[in-house]
């Protein structure tokens, strides 16, 4: 039905007494996500908008049975929040926070216990339409269906999902993996998960300049570890070298991370690359039709 997230996930919000945390706790709740409470150190015992507040993730997990956490704490404290969740036995940690120092993430990733799925940071979260939404995505643009989507972008993701939904193409799970250089879940992780998800028939990969995550995804297709039909889009084809385009991770440097290399990598494994987001629905229909004939 979906990857990483379904209707059963019980979610806590780290930083729930903050403006953003509380706002999105309410939105997630309204979408139907099981929001079980939140954590703000030193504010345990309070209740905000009906959500129980705990001092530590351990306590929140023990009292609510949550297995998922979404993090809205400020950048200096976010890596700590990730490890708190991960070491408290949370299985899916989604970090929304933008602006975490790269070195905090290098250390946090190195310290992450095995088996914990971290999505983000600097990501919009993930949605399994009709089941649950964890993060800050606008729930109403999603529609249940059989196309998976994984993206390094936020708004562009909503835009593409909106286009898909309007074209009648529903989604199994949409994952915003985030725009930072060091992120927990990368394209290949999602592709492996989508490969296993029976319900997902095709995947849209929304990449951008910087790093080699798209090339790694293409390799996974080349080695037949991912075999479902896919469509890609690469943002930043017109970006000059050496400039960070909004996302800390969107930078071409030392000849690495060019849009051209990514487009070519997908081309080499016969993944059609859309020139603009508007082309994506038609390309998805085409690959689905082709797969149906095969």
């Amino acid at each position: 039905m979906s990857i990483y997230l379904n209707a059963d996930n019980k979610v806590i919000v780290q930083g729930i007494t903050g403006r953003e945390g509380l706002y999105h706790a309410n939105r997630m709740n309204a979408y139907g996500t099981k929001v079980a409470g939140g954590v703000t150190p030193g504010k345990g015992g309070q209740t905000v908008d009906g959500f129980a507040v705990f001092d530590t993730v351990s306590e929140a997990k023990a009292k609510t049975g949550a297995t998922t956490s979404v993090i809205f704490v400020p950048p200096p404290f976010a890596a700590d929040a990730i490890l708190e969740a991960a070491n408290a036995g949370i299985e899916l940690v989604v970090c929304i926070t933008e602006g975490i120092p790269v070195h905090d993430m290098l250390k946090a990733v190195a310290a992450l216990p095995p088996g914990v799925r971290l999505v983000g940071p600097n990501c919009p979260g993930l949605v399994s339409p009709g089941q649950a939404l964890v993060g800050i995505m606008p729930g109403h643009v999603f529609q249940p269906g059989a196309v998976g989507l994984v993206s390094r972008s936020g708004t562009l993701t909503y835009e593409i999902v909106d286009l898909l939904t309007r074209a009648g193409i529903g989604q199994s799970t949409c994952v915003g993996i985030g725009g930072d250089p060091i992120i927990g879940t990368v394209f290949t992780d999602c592709l492996r998960a989508f490969e296993k998800d029976e319900h997902t028939r095709a995947v849209v990969i929304v990449g951008e300049i910087g790093g080699t995550d798209e090339e790694d995804a293409a390799k996974l297709i080349a080695t037949r570890e991912f075999t479902k039909p896919a469509v890609a889009f690469i943002g930043g084809r017109s970006a000059p070298e050496g400039k960070r385009m909004g996302h800390a991770g969107a930078i071409v440097s030392g000849g690495t991370g060019t849009a051209q290399a990514k487009v070519e990598a997908f081309g080499a494994v016969n993944v059609p690359v859309a020139d603009s987001p508007a082309q994506i629905p038609a390309l998805v229909e085409r690959i689905l039709a082709k797969a149906g004939r095969a």
Binding site: G99, V102, I136, A278
Partner: protein, 387 residues
């Protein structure tokens, strides 16, 4: 945040990494004083971030208080450019350092390896030139090694890199020690890049950092007030400085060389917008991401910043409604634009998301051109710029 050579060398010296003796100055007079106090064969180096200063004449030699005048005069105020950045950068300071008696030039850097999510050491016994050039002409001469922050750096790692890179046996221990200090500095300074090129071996067998290229992670600067004095945000680009002052992030505004001003919400969407404008035959004047929320006051600042670029001939605002309804977004945009000085004639807005039709109606009521798709908006903006 990138550091000038002299700043990087100061950082290296504090970390215990050997650097040549030197001093920085912004004046010819002081250059003379420096050479008077330490008359020795020296190098006068333009302090700019741009590459290729050597080819551009930004590195000259001298040996006493007299013969430093001419190179100092020539370099101070020199505009240094290269192919990637034809506009170039003015050298406001020179770094005068004692010349090394160099036997061999090697290469060493630490940066972030995104694929392994770890720091990566790149080393070569061939240095002094662009490492990408070495990678191209002599890939076997480059050793790359990621380091797990959980187990950290240990001297044997440096020794094995030195061995693998076929560095002279005599510098193995020095190399390992310098790499250890560089690794510690990488974390303690929150660096994205620490590069020593060349890492020189002097005739008497000592390793020394002959150049220093340093980039610090902007997101980590709040932990480093010691770098405040070196912050040059927007020194090269006043518009970027205004964007940061308006509350946007370091990466949210990027100045470009075209004439179509671009504002959008979300980095991915803005990148896609730039691509759409480029595909439509136009040239983006900038990248400006107002962020997810796109509040009216921030939008007004964004319009002011983008349109104060004299090259900008048309403005394309591309907003995806997201959580907020399209009509609300439109009202915010109208409020933002009404206070500004930018003519609505040279403006096109593409608005999508919930209630997008209602939103477009609001815009059109106020005489603002509204389009349905990103590609259409790009075409209109490019046409407007050409008019």
């Amino acid at each position: 945040m990138r550091l000038l050579e002299y700043q990087g060398k100061e950082l290296f010296a504090k970390a215990g990494i050997p650097v040549p003796k030197g001093r920085v100055t912004a004046s010819v007079d002081e250059a003379v004083t420096i050479m008077r106090e330490a008359p020795a064969p020296s190098v006068v180096k333009a302090q700019v971030l741009i590459g290729g200063r050597g080819k551009a004449g930004g590195i000259k030699f001298c040996s006493n208080a007299e013969d430093v005048k001419e190179p100092a005069r020539a370099i101070l105020g020199m505009r240094i450019a290269n192919a990637q950045n034809p506009q170039g950068e003015v050298a406001k300071r020179v770094w005068i350092e004692q010349r090394l008696d160099i036997d061999k030039e090697m290469y060493l850097s630490i940066t972030v390896d995104r694929a392994s999510k770890r720091p990566i050491v790149i080393a070569s016994s061939v240095g002094g030139m662009d490492i990408e050039e070495v990678a191209h002409t002599n890939p076997g001469a480059i050793v790359k090694r990621t380091i797990d922050p959980a187990t950290g750096y240990w001297p044997y790692i440096g020794r094995s890199i030195a061995k693998e890179a076929a560095m002279p046996l005599g510098v193995m221990a020095q190399f390992s020690s310098i790499l250890g200090k560089l690794y510690d500095l990488f974390f303690s300074a929150g660096a994205l890049l620490l590069e020593i090129n060349p890492l020189a071996i002097t005739k008497d067998g000592k390793l020394i950092a002959s150049d220093a290229k340093v980039e610090i992670d902007d997101n980590g600067l709040f932990r480093h007030p010691e770098f405040d004095a070196w912050k040059t945000a927007g020194e090269e680009d006043p518009l970027k400085a205004r964007a940061v002052k308006a509350g946007l992030g370091e990466n949210n505004y990027v100045g470009l060389s075209g004439d179509v001003g671009i504002i959008g919400n979300g980095a991915g969407l803005v990148m896609a917008t730039l691509d759409a404008v480029t595909s439509a035959g136009g040239k983006p004047a900038n990248f400006l991401d107002v962020g997810g929320g796109a509040r009216a006051d921030l939008m007004r600042d964004a319009v002011d910043i983008v349109t104060s670029n004299p090259n900008v001939k048309s403005l394309f605002i591309n907003i995806f409604g997201g959580i907020t309804r399209g009509d609300e977004v439109a009202n915010g945009l109208v409020a933002a634009l009404q206070g500004g000085s930018w003519s609505t004639d040279k403006l096109v807005i593409r608005l999508t998301g919930t209630n997008e039709k209602e939103g477009r109606a609001v815009l059109e009521q106020h005489g603002i051109a509204a389009v349905e798709t990103m590609n259409e908006g790009a075409r209109v903006a490019v046409d407007l710029a050409k008019k």
